[in-house]
């Protein structure tokens, strides 16, 4: 039986979709069968980040409305064995799916996949409620900014209320140079304030823009720092103990960054 993990944040534009796509790639690279579910109905995005936009026939709403079977709506990624996408509908809105239907869909996916990653829309309304409906775990994406961390705190409260086990944090778009100069909050600052466990740190990386332009997630190739981070997070999802410094920084930056992050 697979596990359903929701990727959420409260605030928009902090990297949920990018994270979902790259963690999907990294998990599949580990040989784990992974299905990505785009729960952002009406603002479909995950398909283009993955470069699968031309292959969509059916979507999540078609599945819940009974126009097709779940299997028919899944798009297999030809670049990578074991990675599939269940796209969102672009023409409907969030009310086209209920939390109960979402739970049924993810339950069915659990029979076939090791991991189901649900890309949550921004906000705390119906779309968010759908995204967390079937989730057994949550990953919270936050950038080192006041508004993003604030929204993350709100989401952590809502996840607690929904009795989803303690969420883990991904700090995205970290700029170590700025932290060093005192111009950006550090990972420790954020972890301290939110009081949740860290699962990974993704640096600000131009390669994210380039790879997203191409529809080839950074984790597919081995030459981006962000890609390295996603691979480490995927291993931690699987349960491996991956030391933080080992992956968050490329060789050479190691000791400098360890000082900045203030952790081993």
């Amino acid at each position: 039986m697979g596990e359903v993990i929701v990727i959420t944040s409260g605030k928009g534009g902090v990297g949920k979709t990018t994270t979902t796509a790259n963690l999907g790639v990294a998990l599949a690279q580990l040989g784990l069968k992974t299905c990505l579910v785009d729960a952002d109905i009406g603002l479909r995005n995950l398909d283009v980040v993955l470069g699968l936009e031309n292959r969509i026939v059916y979507d999540l709403v078609d599945v819940v409305e009974g126009f097709c079977r779940l299997r028919q709506a899944l798009i297999r990624d030809k670049r990578l064995d074991g990675l599939s996408l269940l796209p969102a509908a672009q023409t409907k809105d969030k009310t086209a799916v209920t939390p109960e239907q979402m739970r049924e869909v993810t339950e069915e996916l659990r029979q076939e996949f090791d991991y189901i990653l649900v890309d949550s829309p921004a906000g705390i309304e119906q779309g968010f409620k759908n995204a967390i409906a079937g989730a057994e775990r949550a990953l919270i994406v936050a950038t080192p900014e006041v508004a993003s961390v604030r929204d993350a705190d709100r989401i952590i409260g809502l996840l607690e209320a929904a009795e989803i086990p303690p969420a883990r944090l991904i700090v995205n778009r970290l700029r170590p140079g700025m932290v060093r100069k005192g111009d950006m909050m550090s990972v420790d600052d954020i972890v301290d304030i939110l009081a949740i466990d860290l699962i990974g740190v993704v640096p600000e990386d131009e390669q994210i823009v380039v790879t997203t332009n191409r529809g080839e997630p950074a984790a597919l190739s081995h030459d981006s720092r962000a890609g390295e981070s996603y691979r480490a997070i995927a291993r931690r999802i699987r349960g491996d103990e991956v030391p933080f410094a080992e992956m968050d920084e490329p060789a050479g930056f190691f000791s400098r960054l360890r000082r900045i992050f203030g952790q081993a």
Binding site: R150, R154, G157, V179, K181, G182, D183, M185, D189, I193
Partner: protein, 87 residues
């Protein structure tokens, strides 16, 4: 920490602002939170004083760069001996 121009580093400013705003957010989004805190404070304080008026009034206030939990507790009279036997 201060920078060259004597201004606080923006990292520290961000941290303080966050702590501040989250204190209020957490209190606001969980009505029971303040209620429970008030009840517990009332219970403990009552062992030492006879609380008068409207009882314990608790408020989160932003003071300069931090958040303060401010209590206003009208006292009818002090008990002769607080928390039996302790003094």
């Amino acid at each position: 920490m201060l920078n060259l121009f004597g201004r606080s580093q923006s990292r520290d400013v961000a941290k303080n602002r966050l702590r501040n705003v989250l204190a209020h957010d957490r209190a606001d989004t969980s009505p029971e939170f303040m209620e429970h805190l008030r009840n517990d404070v009332m219970r403990i304080v009552s062992e030492y004083v006879e609380v008068g008026g409207q009882g314990v009034d608790l408020q989160l206030q932003s003071v300069e760069d931090h958040v303060a939990l401010v209590a206003n507790i009208p006292v009818k009279q002090l008990r002769r001996r607080g928390r039996q036997g302790n003094n």
